[in-house]
């Protein structure tokens, strides 16, 4: 496998390309050709694809995209290219399972397969959401106390002691440190001091990330941090610094790929192969250990819309069939906690992930915009995930379509954004308020009618 030094050397010496040219000629033209060559088409009727040939084609097209295009490094204005053997080496050396977390709270995070009947890993939290520090702890605790949650990925701190956190400022470092201290403290209070954290989300540049690495109160070797592939098929010095430093410290790199459907990968078909290429490249460039599938819709943003679900299921299957990569499928909803609609989105999105090779990650209510989320809807996500492992892809497809109709497009166009944690929970007892619990109970009943039985 290539070393980080090899990667930097290639970035230094790689072909110089204008960024716009890379977007249009290197990425989009290659994607367009490959979509045509491999006949990849989005089908809204079959959100969970079952054709093996189709899945194979998506993977092969993605592999070819990685090979033909490579990855762009913004500051160098250059492209790092890889040979077929190097990409295959990346696939071959990927670990099929990791031990994450510590002690009694450690878990095996494994590479799920299509229609895998093993219990999925539940990654819980309000991923990507900005919180003020006074809300962060309580909110984090609401997830930590849910035993069904195996690991935590819970947004970042955007306000410290009343001061807005700015990119690249000292406060970015302080916010990331504070985030980790709160997460650790919440974990201890919940009796789960060793729970796996995918964290340091308060630090968007390497500053925050590096500040949060600390075996005592910060990111440990058994934790992970996000190293995104920039849109589309790009990286930069900040991402590379994050990946290199944490890896050398023995930590876990999580590759986040979040292309826009309608952007430089084109529509859902192009985005699917763009995901495959980005994952394969991030394995080499970041030495990534696990991977997040996060398609962003050009209009709706959420992953729970038809195009998003199709991409999640197609990418999940193509990757899990042809590699040992450990995948997580994001569950990003337009609606917020406190609404009935959020549960419908969770059902469609979670089932899609679980039967197609991904572990569920969420629930990122209101697409991470408002701090309107709680542990309760993530408990539901975990329960639906566990209850749907015996579904075939065909059965899952039918249920997903039924639930999709309940919220899309009306409630993605005008979502119910829900309420903040103080209204959802009695924060003295840390229990959900009755009205919120009743909506959850109603959702449990509703989903049981479709064979998703939550014990």
């Amino acid at each position: 496998m290539l070393s980080f030094i090899d990667i930097i050397k290639r970035a230094e010496e790689g072909p110089k390309v204008d960024e716009k040219e890379f977007d249009l000629k290197w990425v989009y033209n290659n994607v367009k050709e490959l979509v045509k060559e491999y006949d990849i088409k989005y089908n809204p009727e079959e959100l969970i694809v079952t054709s093996e040939d189709f899945i194979n084609n998506v993977f092969e097209a993605g592999f070819q995209l990685a090979l033909r295009t490579g990855i762009y490094v913004v500051e160098y204005r250059s492209v790092i290219k890889f040979s077929e053997e190097e990409i295959k080496e990346g696939i071959k050396t990927a670990r099929a399972q990791l031990v994450v977390g510590e002690g009694a709270d450690s878990r095996i995070l494994y590479s799920r397969k299509i229609e895998d009947q093993r219990a999925p890993f539940i990654m819980g939290g309000h991923a990507g959401a900005p919180y003020p520090d006074d809300l962060y702890f309580v909110s984090a605790l609401s997830y930590m106390q849910e035993p069904i949650i195996d690991g935590i990925n819970h947004g970042g701190i955007a306000v410290v002691n009343g001061l807005d956190v700015r990119t690249r400022s000292p406060l970015e470092a302080l916010a990331a440190i504070k985030e980790l201290m709160y997460l650790r403290e919440a974990a201890r209070i919940a009796g789960r001091p060793g729970i796996h954290l995918l964290a340091a989300e308060s630090g968007v540049t390497a500053i925050g990330d590096l500040a949060a690495i600390n075996s005592e109160y910060g990111l440990r070797k058994t934790d992970a941090h996000l190293v995104p592939v920039l849109n589309e098929m790009k990286t930069d010095w900040d991402r590379l610094i994050k990946a290199i430093v944490f890896k050398i410290r023995g930590g876990i790199n999580c590759s986040l790929v979040d292309p826009v459907i309608g952007g430089f990968f084109g529509g859902p078909a192009g985005v699917a192969i763009g995901f495959i290429a980005s994952f394969l490249l991030s394995r080499l460039v970041y030495q990534a250990d696990y991977y997040i599938i996060h398609p962003i819709h050009n209009k709706w943003v959420s992953t729970s819309v038809p195009e998003g679900l199709w991409v999640l299921s197609t990418v999940g299957q193509a990757m899990s069939k042809h590699t040992n990569f450990i995948l997580m499928g994001d569950v990003w909803t337009s609606n917020g906690a406190g609404s009935q609609e959020i549960f419908w989105e969770i059902v469609a999105n979670t089932i899609t992930n679980v039967v197609t090779g991904s572990h569920p990650l969420g629930v990122s209510a209101t697409n991470g915009k408002y701090p309107h989320a709680s542990g309760l809807e993530t408990r539901f996500m975990g329960e639906v995930a566990h209850a749907s492992i015996k579904l075939s892809r065909r059965e899952a497809n039918e249920i997903v379509k039924i639930f999709l109709k309940k919220y899309h497009p009306e409630k993605t166009e005008k979502p119910n954004i829900g309420k903040p944690i103080y209204e959802l929970y009695d924060v003295k007892t840390m229990r959900p308020r009755d009205w919120w619990l009743n909506i959850y109970k109603q959702a449990v009943k509703e989903v049981a009618e479709y064979g998703i039985k939550i014990a």
Partner: protein, 222 residues
């Protein structure tokens, strides 16, 4: 009965089609032909702007994608090379919809959403000055002053770049320029409530809402 240029002149229809297809060469040819026959304002309003409007709608329905929108905008600009100089003479009577200075604010390198909004604004007849990403606050003000903009539009994906929007507002106030410009904000980190709280004039949840807001705010100002 009135017949639009699109209906009566094949060159107008061809220009319309060329823009939608992002065909710069054809766009150039038909625009050159049309400027000898019609007023520039009519060419823009009846052949070019409808094409970009169609492009915007097709993008929203995912019938075309960002690269095609960029190509269409390039074809539009190719036509403007012929129509633009003649338009100057008419600018007093029929200006383009308005001038927008747009950029992703300081500390934020995410520009895909901003690019989409910039293209959609162009598609709807705005003159757009795109400052790119990670743009220092003072650059927005300087560019707006330089081009006599109507709107300053700021995109923010990272919550840690939101404070820079407040800095921008502060700077505009310090220079007594706050009322001179319509300030619009949008992007992943911005909520409608936050936009109101900081005193922005407009907000876009997505590209189409941003365009609607820009048109309404400009009409109200005028």
């Amino acid at each position: 009965m009135y017949k639009s240029l699109l209906e009566k002149d094949p060159d107008c229809r061809n220009l319309y089609d060329s823009i939608i297809k992002g065909d710069i060469d054809s766009s150039d040819i038909y625009a050159k032909s049309l400027v000898n026959k019609y007023e520039p304002v009519d060419i823009i309003q009846e052949c070019m702007s409808p094409a970009m409007k169609t492009v915007g709608e097709m993008f929203e329905r995912l019938e075309i994608f960002l690269p095609e929108v960029i190509a269409a905008a390039d074809a539009f600009e190719a036509a403007m090379k012929h129509v633009g100089p003649k338009l100057e003479a008419f600018r007093q009577v029929a200006p383009r919809r308005g001038k927008v200075v747009i950029g992703t604010i300081q500390g934020d390198i995410h520009d895909l959403g901003k690019n989409i909004v910039a293209l959609m604004l162009k598609a709807n007849g705005f003159e757009v000055y795109d400052l790119g990403k990670d743009v220092p606050v003072h650059k927005f003000v300087e560019k707006a002053e330089e081009v006599k903009a109507d709107i300053i539009a700021v995109s923010v994906l990272l919550s840690t770049s939101l404070p820079f929007v407040k800095d921008l507002i502060k700077l505009l106030k310090e220079r007594n320029l706050r009322d001179k410009y319509i300030l619009m904000v949008g992007g992943g980190a911005v909520t409608r409530e936050w936009a109101t709280e900081v005193g922005a004039d407009g907000y876009g949840e997505n590209a189409s809402e941003a365009v609607r807001a820009a048109i309404e705010l400009l009409q109200r100002k005028r």
